[in-house]
Amino acid sequence: MAYVPLADQDSEMEMHHPHSWVTKYVWSQDHKVIAIQYGGIAIAVGVVALILSLLMRMQLGFPETFDLIDPSSYYQSVTMHGMIMVVYMLTALLLGGFGNYLIPLMCGARDMVFPFLNMLSVWVYALSVIILMSSFFVSGGPTGAGWTLYPPQTTMAGTPGHDMGIVLMLLSLAVFIVAFTMGGLNYVTTVLQYRCRGLTMMRLPLTVWGIFIATILGLFAFPALLVSAIMMLFDILLGTSFFMPAVIESGTPLDHNGGSPILFQHLFWFFGHPEVYIVALPAFGLVSDVLSTHARKNIFGYRMMVWAIIAIGGLSFVVWAHHMYVSGMHPYFGFFFATTTLIIAVPTALKVYNWVLTLWEGDIRLNAPMYFAIGFIFTFIHGGLTGLFLGNVVIDLPLSDTYFVVAHFHMVMGVSPVLVIFAALYHWYPKVTGRMFHEGMAKAHFWITFLGTYAIYLPMHYLGFLGVPRRYYAMGSTDFIPESAQDLNAAITIAALIVGAAQILFFINIFWSLRNGKPSGPNPWGSASLEWQTPDTPPKHGNWGDELPTVYRWAYDYSVPGAHEDFIPQNVPESEEPTADEQHFDPDHDASKADA
């Protein structure tokens, strides 16, 4: 049988058609419904993690005031907060949520290549979340080992949740990885094989590029976490000694010997560092598209941006041991990993320059998504710069495990992706719901979140310099930490509580606007990319009506001179262009400009 590319196949061939309410909204195979399910679960666990962080902050800011938190529950909160935020919230929301919603729409496809697997993915993810949450209710509570789960302390009696909690955590991670793999295979294959006519890889919006490369990173990095989870489960349940050296616990030697805790660190960070970029690359992509649309300018240096994403993705596999400078490794090792770490800064800085240059002389429209996107540039530069410092062995040694590190990673991989997520949620909200959100409320949400972020994390850098250690329940009285550090801690906590409370604005806004928002029309931002050109808003099942779109240009034809709307959608043929202009830029025509 002659082989027919998917994009050319009869639309009826691979589509399933939901009939009942249950197949439409629960066991749905529609990528848009799956995206909302993924996003909803991720945001819900994110709220849990947020509440945990506020509990920790209350303890740190006002020690001995709240009986609620004892040292054990503090450790458990730190651990669950960190793990949920990184894996179950950010990864799931960016890839499962935005990836699912945007990839088929931006690729001009009707759905993912394998919708059934996609549906399984979200439900297996839900299962992993249930397993994780159940650890709050078992005896001993959730694990308190820190999100890095370093053995041997993870499994030793002094650590809260060393019996059931850690087992459930590892199990949940393994299940999450299965879910991620099922989704991830879909995202990658859809981008590679399911693009509509005319949509070359180099015409894809950067959002798709970011999610695509991040998914590949995930498919190659999560295996290391899976393997370390399996090995640690064996250590706990079968009494093997993969990670457990000979240990004496309160006088009695444990039944382990000869294992290597360092092996766990290597496996964990071989996953852990790419994980940072699994979160960052989709955010880079999303923010590029938001910036370009609201600045009414093409993204500066499109090709460079794509290659930077690829370069960052590749390099992220050879920097992992910069998290292990204090593990006693060979200095030459440290030298190697410091070098690769600093090299990664080059493509990253390039992206930052290009975002700024995209704004340069743009016809900037300060809509709420744009606020968040510009806010991201600030926080990302900030967190990126401290990263340059921490990448150097000699600077990291004294700062490791202090609040400086906490401040650094919150700026770069906590706040920055979260700002992008808000930008993207507001930006695509009209497409998903067909309604506008309340602009004023969104802007209030932005200012409190953005300024609050700085109020929380700037002082933490200073605390780190003082030597305030990370993951401590209380400072106690030490010589090197001045009394005044406590005032700073109290101020940080107040800011954190305000920021936490301000998130309610977001929820009110999206739920209120579902009913009361103005109808948005199909393309309220005047965006050129394909997802805004669907025949229906919100897009119906199958996305494109009877005929798949054909693409004639890249996704960034903004402010085209002579165009009647100042932009040209991707699916408008050259012949319908208002003027046969030379200004119009297509990287396939003119690579020299892109690299200039």
Binding site: P5, D8, R197, L199, M231, H266
Partner: protein, 221 residues
């Protein structure tokens, strides 16, 4: 994109690969299987590097595999004989799988079916022999995941973990092959095409290939 850009001077590898509609001229199922296998390769690589690492760091001496994995048929023990047979069977099954793929593309349903069943049977017998090996180690030699009489406890841990993980892959493969085989027999793929046989074959060859590595790293090293 203009015609010149497609056929012109700049038709580099990148342009070719990034052409519209699809990057590889294969059905999506095949592309997806390839990507999955690369991801799975990372899992096995992590297992094997983890094994090498604990073997280097453990404090006790590593047991002599050739003696543990010896089997005697009445006379003197022959080192590694069972593993050699198992490896031979698995490699043979790759051959029958390749034949099945070939007959699939020729739309010879009957032969495709039987070669797939044969492949699955080889796979099942591999798993059976593995079960035999495990039970011998556990019951007769006293090897446990947490310790063994021969030396480093990590020996048993790694052995059961890695061969077990591979055995699960083989078992899954047997089920997968049989499912596809029976669908082939029923004519399920007459309209869709027989690429699925090749896709299942990819998985199967991968599992065989991984075994070769496990064999080399575990039994020979």
């Amino acid at each position: 994109m203009s015609e010149a850009a497609i056929s012109g001077s700049n038709s580099t590898l990148v342009d070719d690969w990034s052409a519209d509609k699809q990057a590889y001229h294969v059905p999506w199922g095949k592309a997806m299987m390839w990507i999955f296998l690369v991801s799975d390769t990372f899992i096995f690589t992590c297992f094997l590097t983890g094994y090498l690492h604990v073997r280097l760091t453990t404090t006790d001496p590593w047991p002599l595999q050739s003696e543990i994995f010896a089997l005697s048929f009445g006379g003197d023990p022959i080192p590694l004989i069972l593993i050699a047979i198992m490896t031979f069977i698995l490699i043979t099954s790759s051959g029958t799988m390749a034949l099945a793929v070939n007959f699939g593309y020729r739309r010879d349903k009957k032969k495709t079916f039987w070669f797939m069943v044969a492949t699955a049977a080889f796979g099942a017998s591999f798993v059976g022999m593995q079960a035999f090996e495990w039970s011998k180690l556990i019951l007769e030699e006293g090897v446990r995941p947490w310790g063994n009489p021969f030396g480093a406890p990590q020996f048993g841990s790694v052995f059961f973990m890695i061969t077990g993980f591979h055995g699960l892959h083989v078992t899954a493969g047997v089920i997968y092959l049989l499912t596809v085989a029976f669908k082939v027999k029923k004519g399920h793929y007459d309209k869709k095409g027989y690429e699925i046989v090749e896709i299942a074959g990819l998985y199967w060859h991968f599992v065989d290939l991984v075994w070769v590595f496990i064999f080399a790293f575990f039994y020979l090293l």
